[in-house]
Amino acid sequence: MLHVTSFSGGRLCHSSGILRKEVLAAKMKHYEVEILDGKTKDKLCFLDKVEPNATIGEIKSMFHKSHPQWYPARQSIRLDAKGKSLKDEDVLQHLPVGTTATFYFRDLGAQISWVTVFLTEYTGPLVLYLMFYFRVPLIYASKYDFSTSKHWVVHLACMCHSFHFLKRLLETLFVHRFSHGTMPLRNIFKNCTYYWGFAAWMAYYINHPLYTPPIYGEQQIRLALILFLFCQIGNFSIHIALRNLRPPGSKTRKIPYPTKNPFTWIFVLVSCPNYTYELGSWLGFTLMTQCLPVAFFTLVGFIQMTVWAKGKHRSYLKEFRDYPPLRSPILPFIL
């Protein structure tokens, strides 16, 4: 039998003694990985002796070692320079590559974690609204500094608004399971401007000394409060249901179904009921405060959530052949 030397790509020179060669090859079948820049096609990194069961995540860590400025979260590794990003969980030997794998790299730019963004963008409205509620100096005329509104609906609105954002903060910390760890850094500026800006705009008018309470008085406020609370519970129920779909640490996607909780029965008609309930909450708040900026915020939020819901609905349909046909993205039968 001939001695066989296997090169570090598992490329063997041809010889007899095939059975022994294959056994050796199977044991030492390491991959070579070369990473090229997606735009310039320059060779950025060459990794040899990569295990066949290495994941893209591990390859990203290895690449990070040679290029410390590109931490794994900002690496996009693709098979095709213009193709889709590979997932961290993808295993090298299951990819359509030869023993020398060529990947293309794209820098996603500075990244920030979803949790950080959510916490920042939700803390702003919570704090800002309270500043307007307590009529901190320099906002309104100085004779109103630290005074309190004489309308009880203003106190109720403050409680509802604060409750809503407190709920969001707690959900971010304890409930949500994020499929992506990070997003581009510039998003935090965009998102915070949106949330903080609107919160300040709303809070200014609701807590204004010249605020006008709702036309239909107590009836209107009561109905609004019921709607608001109902949708807050609903929204929370959906978040819990979605969390339970996904085991801890996993990124799997499954079709959500109604559970024993009646608030989740809306899954029969809607793909993204968390957005439906969110819309309902803000409609309630608009009704409660009868404030045009709140209506504006509700409208803009609704448009954005509809875009998201339609995208999510479409990806559900693509991924699951047996997706329930009765469901609409966000509004039953309508949208």
């Binding site: 008018y205 609701i206 204004h208 010249l210 605020y211 006008t212 036309i215 405060t289 009868q290 404030c291 045009l292 900026p293 479409r314 693509k318």
Partner: protein
């Protein structure tokens, strides 16, 4: 947006035919539109010259051409539609910003704030607009007819260097002149208390509009400069969807 990919040469041929008839219809409409707009702005130009020659003053000139101006300038909104449905390959946003700034000037400044209608700055931007639009629409018309005289191309991509800044000066001076009248009359403004719990001060809105010229004007101007380099000197500039 994910688009479904379906093969089928029969469907492809049908689609190609649809595209061909659509583009023939689009070309016909665009040709008509650009001829009509060229004619409209020519009418405006002539009316303005006639007024000045006959009366010897610019006072009252705006009133005499106001209706024609409002009609043709407002009709330019369809250009946003052209970009949106894709028969014109320009960004909806760029076109939208340009048309909206014109609509804003015409309807929310000169139309509603009577006292500034006889300002010289109004005549300035009217003259600039007229010259720019006649050049622009005749350029498009000749382009569509595939018979573009070089002087029109030259005019379109050179006159703006002077006209654009002059137009901005005219517009800004007009808005500035309007400020005291806006303050006094409280037009388009809403104060507290009211049942919508909102307030709006048109005066500060106008100040913000004036300030917004600072970032917006250079962007639009350099967009035109890049177009100029590409069209006149054949420089290949990598531009996606603008």
């Amino acid at each position: 947006m994910a688009s479904s990919e379906e093969d089928g040469t029969v469907e492809e041929k049908e689609n190609n035919n649809k595209r061909r008839t659509k583009s023939a219809l689009a070309t016909a409409w665009l040709t008509f539109y650009n001829i009509a707009m060229t004619a409209g702005w020519l009418v405006l130009a002539i009316a303005m010259m006639r007024f000045y020659i006959q009366k010897g003053t610019h006072k009252g000139l705006y009133r005499s051409i106001a209706r024609t101006l409002k009609f043709f300038q407002t009709f330019a909104l369809v250009e946003v539609g052209h970009c949106a449905i894709g028969i014109i390959r320009t960004s909806v946003i760029v076109t939208g910003v340009q048309v909206c700034s014109r609509i804003f000037m015409v309807w929310f400044i000169t139309n509603s704030i009577r006292q500034i209608q006889n300002e010289e700055s109004v005549i300035l931007f009217l003259v600039v607009w007229t010259m720019t639009e006649i050049t622009r629409y005749s350029y498009y018309t000749f382009n569509l007819l595939h018979h573009l005289p070089y002087f029109i191309k030259w005019a379109r991509y050179n006159l703006f260097i002077v006209l654009y800044p002059l137009g901005v000066i005219g517009e800004l001076m007009t808005i500035y002149a309007a400020l005291p009248f806006v303050r006094r009359s409280g037009i388009y403004s809403m104060r507290l208390p009211n049942k919508y719990n909102v307030s709006f001060d048109y005066y500060y809105c106008l100040i913000i509009v004036m300030l917004s010229y600072i970032p917006l004007f250079p962007q639009l101007f350099f967009h035109m400069l890049r177009q100029r380099r590409r069209v006149l000197h054949g420089e290949v500039i990598v531009e996606k969807d603008d």
